[in-house]
């Protein structure tokens, strides 16, 4: 479903992604771990072209993301095409990024109304069901500033799901939350994984990785250190850097 080939990304002089190769199958849950600054979030944002990559390729269902071919040369794709790909890829951010001038319900119906051009009635129906699913049926008409961090993040998940994405990207979804609110967000994500959603999750929640991930990917300094099933990564990492990282985060 997602294929990444020799992906490189620079921020000015800084070489953030140094040749990433990766493949994610439909229905798979891939958890990406690694020290901060290792390029995990940047990798995720390259997948839906919120960050441009300079070399290599990202394919979503065999379509090249962000670029097209023009007489043998690779040029930036039309904005409309990039937007179409993004509409099929849900994303959840560390800082929630709900639209503060809209209510929870308005946040969730925004995409279906504006991007999918659904009728308001249909969008509201889907949104209401999604918000019930994430436990926010009481907060439909509340503004984001009135919600706790955990509630905001659950609303943000509902907003992404309203587009009926084929894959969900989670960029450290619980890192900005108070510890007691982490569980409620992880529960929603577990439920989603249980329903067969394809998910890529950047997180420091090792418990979640162990329990939910099909595969765990360890990243450091812009390269993939190793990939494997959670059992193997956590019990018997092949690479010293993985072992060192895990011993730090698992205490």
């Amino acid at each position: 479903m997602i294929r990444v080939v020799d992906l490189h990304k620079w921020f000015g002089q800084h070489h953030v992604l140094r040749g990433i190769d990766l493949e994610v199958q439909r229905g798979e849950v891939l958890v990406i771990i690694g020290p901060s600054g290792s390029g995990k979030s940047t990798l995720l944002k390259c997948l839906n072209f919120l960050e441009e990559y300079e070399r290599g390729a990202v394919y979503f269902e065999d379509r090249l993301v962000g670029y097209r071919d023009l007489k043998g040369r690779r040029v930036r794709d039309h904005e409309a095409n990039v937007a179409r790909v993004r509409a099929e890829i849900g994303m959840v951010f560390q800082s929630f990024n709900l639209f503060p001038h809209k209510t929870v319900l308005e946040n969730v119906i925004e995409g279906p109304l504006v991007v999918k051009r659904q009728s308001r009635a249909a969008a509201v129906e889907v949104a209401t069901a999604l918000l019930r699913k994430v436990g926010l049926e009481e907060k439909l008409h509340a503004y984001p500033s009135r919600l706790s961090g955990g509630q905001q993040q659950r609303a943000a998940i509902a907003r992404a799901l309203a587009m009926q994405p084929k894959v969900m990207l989670f960029d450290e979804p619980t890192s900005a939350l108070d510890p007691e609110l982490v569980g409620e967000v992880l529960d929603v994500m577990k439920k989603l994984a249980g329903e067969g959603m394809t998910m890529l999750v950047v997180t420091h929640e090792m418990g979640f990785a162990r329990e939910v991930a099909d595969r765990v990917l360890m990243m450091d300094e812009g390269v993939v250190i190793e990939v494997g099933p959670p059992d193997q990564i956590f019990r018997a990492p092949k690479e010293a850097r993985t072992a060192a990282f895990l011993s730090k985060v698992l205490h």
Binding site: R86, G90, M91, N97, R159
Partner: protein, 222 residues
């Protein structure tokens, strides 16, 4: 000075002249404001663009208008533009256009700063659900930015009212020009200019007050 006898009766006699002038001042302001808003929005967006062919001219425009005196801009438009284009604009139209273009440069900065003040995550979130750049601008970024723009925008409007007096140089019959003419008839500069100052205060102070009130009301709410 001591012992000067004020004769405001003279001013009262000519009150229609002041009203007429105030009307022209209001028209100049309204016209320039409309031009300035449209230009400001376009130029502000162009200045924030990643495309150099939009950004560079927009930046040049803003710098040009901010780094030259407004009066020079007005006389340039009135005297030089006709030579270059062959179109002779009347003095009222010239001044309205000139002030509008001038205001556009300042409004552009207000628009740009307002847009920049919105967290990048908002644009990311809008794009992540598949919105085009302009959709995200219109539905997500601008509605949030406009609120932050309104107080500085109102202050700029107050400045614009003051700048309309420059129209007197090109014989536009706004308040200052009417006052000058009145003085040549009445020989009462003290009364006339005092009334002129009060007239402007009566126009501008409510505008400034509104801006301050809005700012406080919104700070209190957020």
């Amino acid at each position: 000075m001591v012992g000067y006898t004020w004769h405001f009766g003279v001013v009262w006699e000519y009150r229609e002249v002041f009203l007429r002038g105030a009307l022209v001042t209001a028209k100049l302001t309204a016209g320039a404001l409309a031009i300035g808003l449209v230009l400001g929005l376009l130029i502000g967006m162009a200045k924030s663009s990643r495309r150099a062919w939009l950004r560079v001219p927009a930046t040049t425009y803003v710098e040009l208008f901010r780094a030259t005196p407004t009066l020079v801009q007005l006389v340039w438009i009135y005297y030089s533009l006709p030579i270059l284009t062959g179109v002779q604009l009347g003095s009222f139209v010239s001044v309205t256009l000139g002030l509008g273009m001038n205001a556009g440069a300042y409004f552009a900065e207000i628009f740009r700063a307002g847009i920049l003040s919105i967290d990048r995550g908002q644009m990311d979130a809008a794009k992540a659900i598949g919105m085009r750049h302009w959709q995200a601008m219109r539905r997500i970024i601008l509605p949030q930015a406009v609120r932050r723009m309104i107080p500085p925008f109102i202050n700029e409007t107050a400045t614009l009212v003051k700048l309309t007096t420059l129209g007197s140089v090109l014989a536009v019959y706004e308040l200052l020009h009417e006052s000058n003419n009145l003085i040549t008839n009445t020989f009462r500069p003290l009364e006339v200019y005092t009334t002129l100052a009060l007239a402007f205060f009566a126009i501008i102070y409510p505008i400034i007050y509104l801006s301050r009130w809005l700012e406080r009301a919104w700070v209190a709410r957020s």
